[in-house]
């Protein structure tokens, strides 16, 4: 076989021109237009690519990326094995594009209970490749060039690039911390929207607001009043609500997750997003869904059928069985949706004590499996670099993983470019981890504290 025989001028030029990237060479050297589409402008950077690599290289204890290091529940993995062993080899073939029938049926049944309304599994539910793809379908289906989309900061980082890729303009509104006056530790509930500020963000170009409750990274569980405020503005301005509720089951201290779609005037303008990965601690299965009115979901279906079309069958089959079990056990102590938050609340409290014990100030999350802590007292180890465009917490997190082997994510990762320097003394920890992992994290922190006090 002729290997690389007859290498064209093109090959030669490319090898000399490494790293240029924007245009590809032409034998006639006439090409000057860029090869990539303009929709990719400004969305190529991604915090996870950098931090996942750092964690993989340096971390001894990884409390960074949000996934459990404990196993998915047995009833779920058993459902997967049963489906495979059942002899129905057609589970290896395409299923219904908008969602495997057993799964959309049980999701409709489940959410009928939760929302108190009738749902048609074929038109009010669609299955997606994780909640991530559900978000993508929402923006592509509903956000046009020139539309504004309100995003509450801090936010799960993909909202901003997805809005931009759809040609929309993100408009940010911050949660602002109101620390308790008695010097107690802050709660995620102390981070609040200013109602007047929020109202000012709505314009006639506002297409949608993205709500994430329980909120990643803070762990805030929006109260009925807070949701009422948002709902009122949505109805007044005829704005859609993209409601990312992937952590819906992870709420603590007896708090309740309230679905904004159940508020007056909201069902017809809300798309609810959910995730099997978070619900069943199986992030690698990438099964998510949307629930909403047909007049919105039909457009998501159009995007879906023109982008991925089908989701993998077997994982959907197993998740359907998981939900069937939960439907039967709903509200009972053996329900995974009761047990998981109970377990995670203990881990949360453990990590809170651990961080508080060494002088990092945790903000106690009301929900999710994330916790944000104030690292101001640890600043001394990582010097301030004036005029650096890398926010302090970014440098701190990198230093910490490289020097202490403990991985976490800087809070500035969850802010827009313009606001990256708003809060630079916070980092996010994930506590969906085995006891041994949390103990190991504590050991690192204790040792670090001792080094500081003895130096």
């Amino acid at each position: 076989m002729l290997r690389r025989a007859g290498q064209s001028l093109c090959h030669f030029l490319l090898e000399k021109n490494s790293g240029a990237g924007r245009s590809w060479c032409s034998r006639e050297a006439k090409m000057s237009r860029p090869v990539q589409a303009r929709r990719l402008e400004g969305i190529d950077k991604n915090i996870w690519v950098e931090f996942v690599k750092l964690a993989a290289t340096y971390s001894k204890v990884n409390l960074g990326q949000g996934f459990p290091d404990f196993p998915a529940p047995e009833f779920l993995t058993e459902a997967f094995s049963r489906a495979l062993g059942g002899g129905n080899h057609m589970l290896h073939q395409y299923t219904r594009a908008f969602g495997h029938p057993p799964l959309v049926k049980v999701l409709a049944q489940f959410f009928e209970k939760l929302l108190g309304r009738d749902l048609d599994p074929m038109t009010n539910v669609m299955v997606t490749v994780g909640a991530y793809q559900a978000l993508f379908c929402c923006f592509q289906a509903l956000v046009d060039e020139g539309d504004e989309v309100i995003i509450i900061e801090p936010f799960f980082d993909c909202y901003e690039p997805m809005v931009k890729m759809a040609g929309g303009t993100p408009v940010f509104v911050p949660l602002r911390p109101n620390p308790p006056k008695d010097g107690k530790l802050m709660s995620s509930a102390d981070w609040q929207l200013d109602p007047a500020e929020l109202a000012s963000k709505f314009s006639e170009r506002t297409k949608a607001i993205v709500l994430n409750s329980p909120n990643n990274p803070l762990g805030k569980v929006f109260s009925r009043e807070e949701l009422g405020l948002i709902a009122g503005l949505c109805v007044k301005h005829d704005v859609l609500c993209i409601s990312d509720e992937v952590y819906e089951w992870l709420v603590y201290d007896g708090k309740q997750h309230i679905r904004i779609a159940s508020l007056q005037g909201m069902w017809e303008r809300t798309v609810i997003i959910g995730s099997a990965g978070k619900t069943f601690s199986a992030t690698g299965w990438k099964v998510g869904w949307v629930v909403g009115p047909d007049r919105l979901l039909k457009h998501l279906r159009t995007v879906h059928q023109n982008s991925v079309y089908h989701c993998a069958t077997i994982a959907q089959e197993a998740v359907a069985q998981g939900f069937q079990r939960e439907l039967m056990l709903y509200g009972k102590p053996e329900s995974y949706f009761v047990q998981l938050p109970k377990e995670l609340q203990q881990k949360r409290d453990w990590l809170v004590r651990s961080l508080d014990g060494v002088g990092m100030k945790p903000i106690i999350p009301e929900g999710t499996y994330f916790l944000v802590a104030d690292i101001s007292q640890f600043k001394s180890d990582v010097p301030d670099v004036p005029n650096s465009d890398e926010p302090y917490d970014h440098r701190f997190a990198k230093w910490m993983v490289k020097n202490k082997g403990l991985a976490a994510i800087p809070l500035s990762a969850f802010y827009s470019e313009a606001h990256k320097n708003s809060y630079t003394n916070f980092i996010r920890f994930c506590f969906a981890k085995e006891e041994a992992t949390l103990k190991a994290a504590n050991d690192i922190l204790q040792k670090w504290k001792q080094e500081k006090t003895s130096s």
């Binding site: 290997r3 025989a5 064209s8 093109c10 590809w24 034998r27 006639e28 090869v35 990539q36 589409a37 303009r38 990719l40 969305i43 991604n46 996870w48 690519v49 996942v52 990326q65 996934f67 459990p68 290091d69 993995t77 094995s81 495979l84 062993g85 080899h89 290896h92 395409y94 594009a97 490749v129 994780g130 991530y132 993508f136 592509q140 509903l142 046009d144 060039e145 993909c158 005829d238 601690s281 199986a282 992030t283 690698g284 299965w285 990438k286 007049r295 039909k298 457009h299 279906r301 159009t302 059928q305 023109n306 982008s307 991925v308 079309y309 089908h310 993998a312 069958t313 077997i314 994982a315």
Partner: protein, 419 residues
């Protein structure tokens, strides 16, 4: 206040879909379904076993690397290095996607935009047109034409007119989409035919999106050639493959794009902003299956070759049955579809007053009266060419013996009943 929230411009007119229409109709279990490209044969047992094994490994139920599970991209790079005879970097030259469908989407979203033209060869796998439109670009069609003035015995009879093809290229042409082996006709483009396309790509500095999902399914006397391996083409080609078609596991929805780093990196940006990662357990099982076959790539028992042999005899059987029923099949050189000229049957459907092309009406009639389903070929054509192809329907033959037996009964009895 009237509801102002309509669909975005990018999806205007893209809501209808041939599959939504025909898979519903054929879902009736009493109908012998040779329509959608869905194998009803079992995937090989070692493939199913690999998936069963991964279910027991905890960490495989959590997120893996976004651009592709490490063991999978490694296996893909090894297999394709052997096939292509060139180094392929698993981390920069490969992206794992949700099916080949996801690869097509990522490629088009990454590299195509408003103002671009994209050449699509007709008939085409139906998603190419809406995906190009969703990216804001203009599809430019060119049909395969039958050499022998309508008398086609083989997929090789369907060819592009080089002058006609050349006339479709201009300064706005961003890419051409190539599909070989071809769905629906089953054509396997020859080296000479690929060279004509390559020469035009190089001359006009155009990209090539090469959909090669049926790459292993080529029948005796034919060879699958990768256009990316022609001189000057690696740097401008994204080659797409599919686990679903390679291993008869369409429901795993795993595919991949392979190409030079400076193109693949843009696909990776799209991927990280659309779904981020593909499912872990399926990728791990697929990687193991690939290792098994990589080790025996010089062995005729390798699934890449054994599946092809199995399908060749099904192809021949299908063709025979169709001929006996008075139909004119076009024997495919590759893939698992066969198109058939049904005009010889002279089924009069002029009383069916639906404004659909003849083949749509024929298939609906055939489903209702013969309990046999297929897909109308005009679903795979642009507006100008529908008339040219409306006498053809497409059958899928990656079906178990009992399904083909049931089809045989229907076809043998075809002439005994009057329509």
């Amino acid at each position: 206040m009237p509801f102002r929230h309509k669909n975005t411009r990018r999806i205007e007119g893209l809501d209808s879909n041939v599959w939504v229409e025909f898979t519903k109709v054929a879902a009736d279990p009493s109908i012998v379904n040779l329509g959608q490209g869905l194998p009803d044969i079992s995937p090989p047992s070692y493939v199913k076993e690999e998936l069963a094994k991964v279910a027991a490994v905890d960490r495989l139920n959590q997120y893996t690397r976004g651009f592709g599970h490490p063991s999978l991209v490694k296996a893909l790079s090894q297999v394709y290095e052997k096939v292509c005879g060139r180094k392929i970097d698993p981390l920069t030259d490969i992206l794992v996607t949700v099916g080949a469908y996801g690869s097509l989407f990522s490629t088009i979203q990454a590299l195509i935009e408003e103002g671009d033209e994209v050449i699509i060869i007709e008939p085409f796998y139906d998603c190419y047109e809406p995906m190009v439109k969703m990216a804001g670009a203009k599809p430019v069609f060119i049909p395969l034409r039958c050499k022998n003035d309508g008398n086609s015995a083989s997929s090789a009879d369907w060819v592009l007119d080089p002058a006609e093809l050349a006339s479709k290229f201009n300064s706005k042409t961003k890419a051409i989409i190539l599909n070989t082996p071809h769905n629906p006709i089953g054509k396997v483009f020859t080296r000479e035919e690929l060279q004509v396309i390559a020469d035009l790509c190089i001359k006009h500095d155009t990209l090539c999106i090469s959909d090669e999902v049926y790459e292993w399914l080529v029948y005796k006397g034919n060879k699958h050639i990768k256009i990316a391996m022609l001189p000057g083409m690696w740097e401008r080609t994204v080659t797409i493959g599919s686990a679903g078609k390679t291993y008869s596991v369409t429901g795993w929805k795993l595919g991949w794009s392979i190409g030079p780093e400076y193109l693949i990196k843009h696909l990776q940006v799209v991927h990280q902003n659309t779904l981020y990662t593909c499912p872990t357990p399926l990728q791990e099982a697929l990687a193991q299956a690939f290792w098994t076959d990589y080790r025996r790539m010089d062995d005729p028992d390798c699934y890449f070759y054994s599946l092809s042999r199995e399908l060749e005899s099904k192809r021949d059987r299908m063709a025979q049955l169709l001929k006996e029923a008075g139909l004119k099949p076009v024997i495919p050189d590759g893939g698992y579809f066969m198109i058939v000229d049904v005009s010889t049957l002279n089924v009069d459907l002029s009383d069916v007053d639906e404004k659909q092309p003849y083949d749509y009406k024929f298939v609906k009639w055939m489903i209702a009266s013969k309990k046999l389903s297929a897909i109308p070929l005009s679903a795979f054509c642009g507006p100008e060419t529908k008339k040219q192809f409306e006498k053809y329907i497409r059958f899928c033959f990656i079906k178990k013996d009992s399904t083909l037996d049931a089809a045989e009964v229907i076809l043998k009895n075809w002439n005994k009943q009057t329509g």
